[in-house]
């Protein structure tokens, strides 16, 4: 089943000469890992921001379970779509635990005890139990990212968007991230990520859209195709 369906997405920034997105169509299938590959500036992050409705001035059709994303309420969207930004964007004045409980209490109206239990469970799942009382500035990049993932999962998000998840991580943390994403995938979380990290893309090989200059130029599905049958994606992995 397709969670996200995009048809003919286009986005033009006034200041730019060429479109950020042009005639982009794709799907994000439930329970699968969908990767948007491409060089910097190819439109991967813009695409994820459209899905998260952080950028809403696009044209074309973009739906979550047949509902237009633009029409979803903030609370509704938050409980379905989680977004882990490149810079993780944890709230610096809150502890790890509060980062995970605060949105639950103030957006989903959960009781503090319930929010605590959910947050502690998610943090334990991602190996962050011993850091719950720390502040974001006391964590490493990989740890911040895990908290950011936990925070998204605490909101019941079954679709997790990750923007360039390894760009701020060392190789060891990147390896750990792959393990975590595999665990989440096995738990049934749908994952969509943008990356130009060849190792990450190879380790999470499932569905790939290859982007260039704001367009999707190639599609790959591990269930139906072999990498050798592709051109741009094959070249990307060859470099």
């Amino acid at each position: 089943m397709s969670l996200i369906v995009a048809k003919n997405l286009a986005l033009f920034y006034k200041s730019a000469k060429s479109p950020a997105l042009e005639n982009v169509s794709f799907t994000i299938e439930e329970g699968r890992i969908t990767q948007f590959l491409g060089k910097s500036g190819s439109g991967k992050t813009t695409l994820l921001k459209c899905i998260a409705n952080l950028t809403s001035n696009f044209t074309g059709e973009l739906t979550y379970k047949n509902r237009p994303i633009k029409a979803m309420s903030a609370r509704d969207r938050a409980t379905h779509i989680g977004f882990v930004a490149q810079s993780f964007d944890l709230f610096p004045h809150m502890t790890v635990l509060t980062n995970c409980t605060h949105p639950q209490i103030h957006v989903l109206d959960r009781k503090p005890a319930e929010a605590d239990a959910i947050a502690l469970k998610q943090l334990a799942h991602l190996g962050m139990s011993e850091y719950v009382e720390r502040f974001p500035h006391e964590l490493s990049g990989g740890q911040k990212q895990r908290v950011s993932i936990a925070r998204a999962l605490c909101m019941n998000s079954r679709l997790l968007l990750l923007d360039e998840p390894t760009s701020a991580l060392d190789p060891e943390s990147s390896k750990k991230l792959v393990e975590i994403l595999r665990v989440l995938h096995n738990d049934g979380v749908t994952i969509a990520l943008s990356t130009h990290d060849m190792t990450l893309a190879r380790n999470l090989l499932d569905r790939i859209y290859f982007m260039e200059n704001g367009r999707i130029i190639e599609y790959f599905d591990a269930k139906t195709k072999d990498i050798s049958e592709t051109t741009s994606i094959k070249n990307f992995f060859a470099h």
Binding site: L54, A74, D89
Partner: protein, 218 residues
């Protein structure tokens, strides 16, 4: 022995003047912080309104670009004359200091909010926070931490600038000192003592700033 006698008779009056200075400055900084906070919030990049912003910018520009002394004369003499009302010197003084510090603190607040990383707004939006909740729980706590030193600096500035209120007869420290000197003709002793009072007040504010900064950074 004569000097002790000068101070013995002047100290209670100077203390009273110092208390008036503190009181006026505290009211001024409270008005400035609240109103400046509101103006700063309405002027920040994410909330700027096409209609309201020019008015707020105009207010900030006028009050930052003209001398406090002139503002005081307008508030105490010109406005009551135009509106046919009466203002006591203390009320006029507080209004002037409040309006002036509002303009300065609006700029401080605006800069403090704009300095917060855009990712914080995005993260709040994605997590489903309303605009009000984003402001209340995410942006303001960080912005206040950013601007706390500037607010306390403005308070220290206000304490010193409040001396200008003597011109309309507000019985604050400088006015009291001047009155005492007029009676005992001991300018060195009295003005030196007034300067020491100002120094103590501004030093106390600086100490509080340091304390608050240390607490906020924890």
């Amino acid at each position: 022995m004569e000097i002790f006698e000068v101070y013995r008779s002047a100290l209670p009056l100077l203390l009273k003047g110092a208390l008036m200075t503190v009181w006026i400055s505290v009211i001024g900084i409270l008005c400035g912080s609240f109103c400046g906070g509101v103006v700063g919030i309405l002027e920040c990049n994410r909330l700027r309104s096409r209609w309201l912003s020019p008015l707020l910018r105009c207010y900030v520009t006028v009050f930052r670009g003209t001398p406090l002394f002139v503002q005081l004369l307008i508030v105490y003499f010109a406005v009551p004359d135009a509106l046919h009302i009466e203002l006591s010197p203390i009320t006029a003084g507080i209004i002037t200091l409040g309006l002036n510090s509002t303009a300065y603190l609006a700029e401080v607040m605006r800069a403090g909010i704009n300095a917060i990383d855009g990712g914080q707004w995005d993260a709040s939006y994605i997590l489903g926070y309303s605009r009000f909740s984003t402001f209340r729980f995410v942006i303001l706590p960080q912005a206040i931490r950013n601007v706390l030193p500037s607010i306390t600096n403005e308070f220290a500035t206000l304490i010193k600038e409040s001396s200008i209120l003597m011109i309309i007869g507000v019985p604050e420290l400088t006015k009291i000192s001047k009155d005492i000197v007029a009676r005992n003709l001991k300018p060195m002793e009295i003005y030196l003592m007034a300067a020491i009072f100002y120094l103590i007040m501004t030093y106390a504010v600086a100490y509080c700033t340091k304390f608050l900064e240390t607490r906020a950074s924890k």
